[in-house]
């Protein structure tokens, strides 16, 4: 009982903080100066219509690289924690998936993968990008593993694909350092026509590598949890 009262007090105090924050917040009626720079200069400088992708991949590209490194470390640590060393015991044999799930998977899987690839490669033009598309691809992998309990994922191949995507990501960054303004600067490739599929310098390439890397990493994490 005391525990609940303490919890209630904590929640009420947090509620007071949040209420003050929400009550005193004044909605912006114009962009902040940094945002104004990104919105006005970003499309002209990078040739990418989607400003959020421009920020993620170029202006804050180094952070994105760090974030992918975090995902990589999580995949590694989950693998370490869930290593089969006899302590975890063996899971009961799984029931086979029902007819509906299996048929639905056969119909949906190509669509999910196509949609994921579409979201990844259109990241510079419309809402989407490497992270989002990678998550969609991984959700397809999840469906695949749900439908076939015996299905195995080639984790070794995925790891190789993921490592190469990471290496190429850094290589593109270094190319930007050598040929253009700085690390991960995508302007060493031609900007192309604004809004065209092949445009915005190296942003679609970096986005695709990011998508491959995120998709592979999330798939490996999902597979680790299955065993």
């Amino acid at each position: 009982m005391t525990r609940r009262i303490v919890a209630a007090v904590v929640v009420v105090l947090f509620g007071l903080i949040f209420a003050r924050l929400a009550a005193n917040y004044v909605e912006l009626d114009a962009l902040r100066s940094l945002a104004r720079f990104y919105v006005v200069e970003g499309p002209a400088e990078l040739g990418a219509p989607n400003i959020v992708t421009g920020i993620l991949i170029t202006y804050r590209g180094f952070d994105t690289l760090g974030e992918v490194a975090v995902l990589f470390m999580v995949a590694a640590s989950v693998g370490l924690l869930l290593k089969q060393d006899g302590v975890l015991g063996h899971a009961a044999p799984r029931r086979a998936a029902s007819e509906i799930v299996r048929t639905g998977t056969a119909v949906l899987l190509p669509l999910i993968f196509t949609f994921g690839a579409y979201v990844i490669v259109n990241g510079h033009l419309s809402a989407g990008g490497g992270f989002q598309g990678g998550a969609i691809v991984a959700s397809g992998v999840m469906l695949l593993l749900l439908a076939g309990p015996g299905a195995t994922l080639n984790v070794a191949l995925l790891s190789i694909v993921e490592s190469f995507a990471g290496v190429f990501y850094v290589l593109l960054g270094i190319l930007g350092l050598v040929l253009a303004g700085g690390f991960l600067d995508p302007r060493f490739m031609p900007k192309g026509e604004f809004g065209a599929f092949i445009s915005a310098g190296a942003i679609p390439l970096i986005s695709a590598l990011l998508g491959i890397k995120v998709g592979a990493e999330l798939s490996v994490i999902i597979d680790r949890f299955r065993n």
């Binding site: 919890a7 975090v70 033009l125």
Partner: protein, 124 residues
């Protein structure tokens, strides 16, 4: 339909309420899985709050296309920085959740229970 309230206020209240529900869930439940779910709910609420702080009155998504020309982008686009930050925050939240879940599996293997009351070794 307009409610008279600014959009960002509605979003802020929603996000903060979700966070409070998450904190309450984390503090009151004894099952490790429920605590993790509480964390995820709190996390989602804070993401909504972060996105809300980028909203500009009457703004639209910061994507230049037929509906938003380059010239009027500075007037009509929302602040893209919080949106970009939230993508990062979501990925980190997912990573933390994944690590917590694998620890939960380890703890279950050790004690065959998910109740946090069973793990008294690290209690002070």
């Amino acid at each position: 339909m307009t409610t008279g309230l600014p959009v960002s206020t509605i979003l802020l209240v929603t996000g903060f309420c979700l966070s409070l529900i998450g904190i309450w869930g984390m503090l009151t439940h004894r099952n490790i899985l429920r605590i993790i779910i509480g964390f995820a709910v709190m996390d989602t609420g804070l993401h909504i709050v972060m996105v809300a702080t980028g909203y500009v009155t009457g703004g639209t998504a910061p994507i230049i296309d037929k509906a938003l020309s380059k010239a009027e982008a500075a007037q009509r686009a929302i602040d893209p920085v919080p949106s970009a930050l939230v993508v990062t925050a979501i990925v980190i939240g997912l990573s933390v959740t994944a690590v917590m879940l694998s620890y939960a599996i380890r703890l279950y293997a050790a004690k065959k229970t998910l109740s946090i009351d069973a793990f008294t070794e690290s209690k002070w």
